[in-house]
């Protein structure tokens, strides 16, 4: 694999050198935003799933509370699945609307 060659071989041959782009505020900002979104959503996932699991482990009577024809446990179990999917979809909507346009703009500046 030509590891690391992609960046260095293109240097100096066009409008913006790759190294300048990597050092630019815009690129750093892009990387920071990408991981901030990841970390916030991963944290949400942790709260949703481990919150549910710890409730099951530590407060069984609460989850046995009748809700409608089922129990709070069933409602929360279904909610964990639906919310997991919802935050996954949320990430894609964020990435398509906010991340991809910046990627396209930065890529266009490369030779």
């Amino acid at each position: 694999m030509p590891a690391g060659q992609t960046a260095t071989t293109r240097e100096g041959s066009g409008t913006t050198r790759t190294a300048d782009l990597l050092a630019s505020d815009e690129f750093r900002h892009l990387v920071r935003r990408r991981w901030r979104a990841s970390i916030v959503l991963t944290a949400a996932l942790f709260v949703i799933y481990y919150g549910f699991i710890l409730l099951v482990a530590l407060n069984k009577p609460l989850l046995g509370t009748p809700v409608g024809s089922g129990t709070l446990g069933i409602v929360l179990g279904v909610a964990v699945i639906l919310l997991s999917w919802a935050i996954t979809l949320g990430y894609v909507i964020w990435a398509n609307a906010s991340y991809d346009p910046d990627v396209r703009r930065l890529r266009a500046r490369l030779p």
């Binding site: 990597l22 991963t42 699991i53 989850l63 024809s69 997991s84 930065l106 490369l110």
Partner: protein
């Protein structure tokens, strides 16, 4: 209830032959398009996001989860639902942490990403060992499950069933490579989702299409306890440890990670995770309905009499509500499910052997396309034969813990180096090897010392390690080993390349 389970019926054999015939036609079509290494390993990067979403779901929804979770819900009610949620939550994490950088940096295997800026030989060997270990444990569980299920459902002898699975899936992978394997997964995913949907609709039709009435009927027959948490999750540390293994194990499963190379770019990889999460979430949402239905309509005694683990709950409710013909369909779909999953595992094993070990270690990256594909086919044959032998060797063994072991190894040996290599500039070759070795040894060693093996299997009075799943210890230790070893060593080249590779990780420039 009189059941035709265990005897080969006309409909079960007809549906099975139909599915095998269809998948072999697809394999023939795929074989003519499989010439280069990129076609064999990555379907020429020609799979669409929606198709890859289905294929990912197909790879992940095993017969074990279809039959096992239905059975768990049927026999222990709500506890089965807790288990179902755990199988889904890895997918969002895969999306947020791994999917896009993996697609941009790698070529065919996850080791491509770990080794990207590090010294090839040591990292490739360690990553291939971690990957193959994961795949072997997963394969043992699938093959033994296949032998038992087919024996239970069709009445075919165990060894014959294992050889049939091995032979048919080898045909897919050897001739059709990733293109055939992907389409087999898609066919299987569609059939499985269709079968489970029909089952759930048939169940709900008995309860005026109201899940509430179904729950009430279950509670009326088995008491309110059926809808409440029981004994499955009691120790919070053990529960979180199992959760960590399920969540981050997915991020280290080689056969899942490999699928991201079959799409054209990071955006398609991202989109395919949303589809996969949707399909898998839907699957785990409706499986409990089938399980509660089986408990209420078939009865726990009948289910447990067929198979103590409850694996026959889904086939029994299918027969009760849909007759012998529908049972035949569900049995054939379960068999096809195993075939498809084992095919995916074998292809991933072959890619680790031929792409990581042969090409990058033995040949130092120099081999012609024809050589690479030839070695890949040989490796496929080798892995397939090992899979069949392991299936025969482990006949009659309780292998339920093997899937947990595969996820624990994946979360401990494969995921930590993968994440560190993507995120951390200071990561070094020694750090990568240390984290893989520590993760693999601890996860396997601690499972051997856990109550799962020492008490349940070996019948010691107590276990040396208290947790049933070691991930909370072994995964953390792998991260610590990777970080500390990297800080103690220095690899300026790797650090410089980390800056260079950013343009590829975040912008996709130069991605394969």
């Amino acid at each position: 209830m009189q059941s035709s389970l265990g005897t080969p019926t006309f409909s079960s054999i007809a549906f099975f032959l139909l599915i095998v015939a269809l998948t072999l036609v697809v394999t023939y079509w795929a074989a003519r398009r499989t010439k280069s290494a990129a076609e064999f390993f990555a379907a020429g990067r020609s799979i669409g996001a929606f198709q890859n979403g289905l294929a990912l779901a197909g790879d992940y929804m095993s017969a074990a989860s279809f039959l096992g979770i239905t059975g768990l819900v049927a026999l222990s009610g709500f506890d089965g639902m807790i288990y179902a949620t755990g199988w889904l939550v890895g997918w969002p994490a895969l999306m947020f942490l791994i999917a896009e950088p993996l697609r941009n940096l790698g070529k065919f295997t996850f080791a491509d990403v770990v080794a990207f800026r590090l010294r090839q030989a040591p990292v490739r060997i360690a990553a291939a060992v971690g990957g193959i270990l994961t795949l072997l444990f997963y394969t043992i569980a699938q093959m033994v499950g296949a032998g038992n299920l087919v024996m239970l459902m069709f009445g075919i002898p165990y060894t014959v069933a294992v050889v049939i699975v091995g032979g048919v899936m080898l045909a897919y992978v050897l001739f059709g490579g990733m293109i055939a394997t992907t389409w087999v997964q898609i066919i299987k995913a569609v059939l499985l989702l269709f079968g489970v949907t029909v089952l759930a609709v048939l169940v709900l039709a008995q309860f005026a299409f109201s899940p509430g009435q179904l729950y009430q009927a279950t509670a009326a027959r088995y008491g309110a306890a059926a809808l409440q948490p029981g004994g499955l999750v009691t120790d919070p540390i053990d529960a979180v440890s199992l959760g960590l293994a399920l969540m981050f194990g997915l991020l280290g499963l080689p056969h899942i990670l490999m699928r991201f190379y079959t799409v054209k770019d990071a955006k398609a990889a991202r989109t395919s995770v949303v589809y996969a999460t949707g399909f898998i979430g839907y699957f785990y949402l409706i499986i409990p309905i089938v399980g509660f239905g089986a408990a209420t309509l078939v009865g726990r005694d009948t289910i447990a009499a067929m198979d103590r683990g409850g694996n026959m709950a889904a086939p029994l409710i299918a027969e009760l509500l849909g007759g012998t013909a529908f049972l035949g369909f569900i049995a054939a779909v379960a068999f096809a499910t195993i075939l498809a999953v084992v095919a995916g595992l074998t292809l991933a094993g072959a890619s680790a052997l031929s792409h990581d070990i042969f090409l990058h270690v033995v040949r130092r990256g120099q081999a012609t396309e024809a050589e690479q594909v030839r070695v890949a086919r040989l490796a496929t044959l080798g892995f397939g034969i090992v899979a069949v032998l392991l299936g025969v060797l482990f006949q009659g063994q309780n292998v339920a813990f093997m899937v947990g072991l595969a996820f624990a190894v994946a979360a401990s040996a494969n995921f930590p180096p993968l994440l560190l290599s993507i995120l951390w500039a200071r990561f070094t070759t020694a750090g990568a090897v240390a984290s893989i070795v520590v993760g693999a040894l601890l996860s396997v060693g601690l499972i051997v010392l856990s109550p799962t093996v020492m008490v349940d299997l070996a019948h010691y009075p107590a276990a040396l390690f208290p947790l049933r799943n070691p991930a909370i210890v072994s995964m953390s230790a792998a991260f610590v080993a990777g970080i500390v070893t990297s800080l103690l060593t220095s690899e300026p080249q790797a650090r410089a390349r980390f800056e260079d590779e950013k343009v590829r990780v975040y912008l996709g420039v130069g991605a394969e």
